[in-house]
Symmetry: C2
Subunit: 410 residues, 2 copies
DNA sequence: TTGACTAAATATAGTTGCAAAATAAACTCG
DNA sequence: CGAGTTTATTTTGCAACTATATTTAGTCAA
């Protein structure tokens, strides 16, 4: 039990004033208006110090001093009216990007998270492997900035969601078939070179971030977001913290082939399409089913959901089969990490009422102990974009004083 | 996307001097001797400040000033010899307790982690549910203190490992059969009332802590410790951090009943005993097997390991069956959490060479991607005790300046 | 209108905790 | 013994905060 000879690094050297200023800025971030008294009770500093720090933050462009002392419908208060400070939503902008395999979306938002502009680009199916994703994404980002009417100099942080595990530098490992590198061809380096703080993160993890702040995970200390499209990906949040894994591979779900009656990480979209098409091919699709009227091109998950909702027995049968599978996945994940809520996110979440209902019923049979709650994401197909914006905002919030505001048009 | 009205707490109010003193104490904790120059480069403070802080720490009893400036066999250095400070191992003691179902162990150690005293108490099988575990444990702790020749006033922190999930206050939830409450009947409150900093933690989590600091997990950023006895329990460490779950239930492994060919969280000890006994009962035990010569009372996991090592084919067959089960568990856990090492801990780890060898082979077949490394714990049946001591030490290290040293016999 | 009361802002005077710089001490080596 | 090197000590000054007193801006009741 001898002690090692290594001296561990300790973060000590910091400017106290800067530290306190950052704390006050974080307070202002979460509140529509901040008074000196609020900040005093939160930080333990005295009034003189707080006001001096707030004045500094006003000078540097992060805070605005609100004139309307008591006008803002607040409960009546005695005494001299307090100065009120607020975060300047227009101090800068952030960019959130969903860099999916066949669709790249960029959203520009102000510091309140309000969307200012938006741009989308589709990647043709036959170009998924060959497209130059870096320049493509660069273009979409510039288009979104143009739509927002904001110059690139005002961008404080950009966050990108990619369908690949990412390490702490935002790089993705060389996967089995190099798909991961294809999906994340050095985004981190490229956008950092544009002078922006850059966060590249797995798409399911960003979905989890979105659910936690504005979606179905809000208020829960621990939850899992299951992002389903062509493949399943999971984002774990345990006690308010995102679990990423050594190489960012937590939630990659390669293990599903060991779970009974699951056998792969294929997502809801892919499986339902496969099942219904192979049923048609093999003649297993009953003659009376409404799915016979759907063209082969549109014979996919949305069609199945729609027919099931309309009561088509064969479609319902497929949904039930999927519910069993989903329930097993949920049981494994919830049991492993002791979470009490699982959020189903992605485009399927918009039409999956029946599926979730059946999944909950199946889950109650599969688990003994209190089954986790299964909820649909309210964010639909924009969940990764929303998560990217939230992630960029939280990065900006945490590193605000390290960032330089563009004062030309603030 | 409106901002919530809640002001989040921010930890700001602290004494800068105290903060810096704590940082220097942490440096001294990890190193046999600390010079002012070391601390200067690590903290960014100047020599005058560092020396003033060190003198404070010497006055308060945490550090000792070493006289032997250059005698300690260090490489030759020019100039005036530096003062050298070191943590006082005798500034206080910590207590680590393994409060298992049928055995309660207490270990007293100094701040270097050197064992000073030890005491054990067995809980008779028929008293497991009725014993007053709090007073029993209290007695074992006092016996260990007496064996160490230390007064209770010198205890800085006590950590207890219990076979139950624990929340952040050290309490366990009311489980299915109240077994958890039985195993953790308010330890946290009881020992806090003795004036000691108290940490109650799940036993598998403590095993993980032990492996991380002095066992097979040392140096790995992410690993899982699989504590196997009657039941499996897992401790997850991902990126250096213990994952506890909302109610401390991460690692309870209820999920195993969904994994193909596993079906329960029963541990290696329980299963091997069941398998070999039911083989004997049903006549499946071959006449030539050495296991026929073992009395029914001793027909358990150690006997199977021993016979298998001696080459008994039936025992080897049981080991292979267990290896398949273990490999599946490891594959699921490693796949879900992206860890690259799994440590098998507990009493079985001492004799499980053959089992692990077979498990590794099976694991390579079950997973495609780089299989996680499977290693045996070097800590044997003392792993939970060792983890409890390490946990108490790390708590003491992190909260040193909040603790009061007993100056009567320091 | 006036004065009592309240709560915040402002001004002024310490206090703490650190850095910077100059000086002194302890040691090695030629 | 003195030049060179490294650390310790002392002095001085500054940055950042606290504490306290005073002023300001409002409400409310008589």
């Amino acid at each position: 039990m001898s002690r090692p000879m290594v001296i561990q690094p300790v973060a000590v050297s910091f400017s106290q004033r800067r530290f306190n200023a950052a704390a006050i800025l974080r307070l202002a971030w979460d509140v529509p208006a901040l008074t000196a008294s609020d900040a005093m009770s939160e930080t333990g500093l005295t009034r003189s110090t707080v006001i001096a720090l707030c004045d500094d933050l006003v000078d540097s462009g992060w805070l605005a001093e609100l004139a309307d002392a008591r006008t803002a419908g607040e409960a009546y208060r005695k005494g001299r009216p307090a100065k009120r400070y607020a975060l300047r939503g227009d101090a800068g902008v952030v960019v959130g990007v969903d860099a999916g395999p066949h669709r790249i979306t960029a959203t520009v938002a102000d510091l309140f998270g309000r969307e200012l502009g938006h741009a989308v680009e589709h990647v043709p199916t036959d170009a998924i492997e060959t497209a130059n994703r870096v320049s493509l994404t660069d273009g979409v980002v510039d288009a979104a900035l143009a739509a927002a009417g904001v110059s690139a100099a005002r961008v404080l942080c950009i966050s990108l969601g990619v369908p690949a595990p990412t390490d702490q530098n935002g790089a993705s490992p060389e996967g089995e078939n190099s798909f991961w590198r294809l999906m994340n061809p050095g985004f981190a380096q490229h956008f950092a070179a544009r002078g922006w703080a850059t966060v590249v993160e797995n798409d399911a993890n960003l979905a989890a971030v979105a659910e936690g702040s504005i979606g179905a995970g809000a208020g829960a200390p621990s939850y899992i977001t299951l992002l389903s499209g062509e493949r399943f990906g999971a984002g774990y949040v345990v006690n308010g913290q995102l679990i990423r894994g050594t190489r960012g591979g937590a939630g990659e779900m390669r293990l599903l082939n060991l779970v009974e009656n699951v056998g792969s990480a294929d997502g809801i979209g892919l499986l339902l399409r496969d099942w219904v098409r192979s049923a048609k091919d093999s003649g297993a699709l009953p003659a009376g089913s409404a799915l016979n009227n759907v063209s082969l091109n549109n014979l996919d998950a949305p069609a199945v959901f729609q027919s099931a909702d309309a009561g088509d027995p064969f479609a319902v049968q497929l949904i039930v089969r999927m519910a069993d599978r989903l329930a097993r996945i949920c049981a494994v994940l919830a049991g492993l990490l002791d979470v009490d809520r699982i959020v189903i996110a992605g485009a399927v979440a918009e039409a999956a009422d029946l599926l979730l209902e059946r999944t909950r019923a199946r889950l109650a049979e599969v688990t003994h102990t209190p089954a986790p709650e299964i909820v649909a994401s309210p964010l639909g197909s924009g969940v990764v974009s929303a998560g990217a914006v939230r992630r960029a905002l939280s990065y900006t919030r945490d590193h605000a004083l390290d960032l330089v505001l563009d004062d030309t048009m603030e």
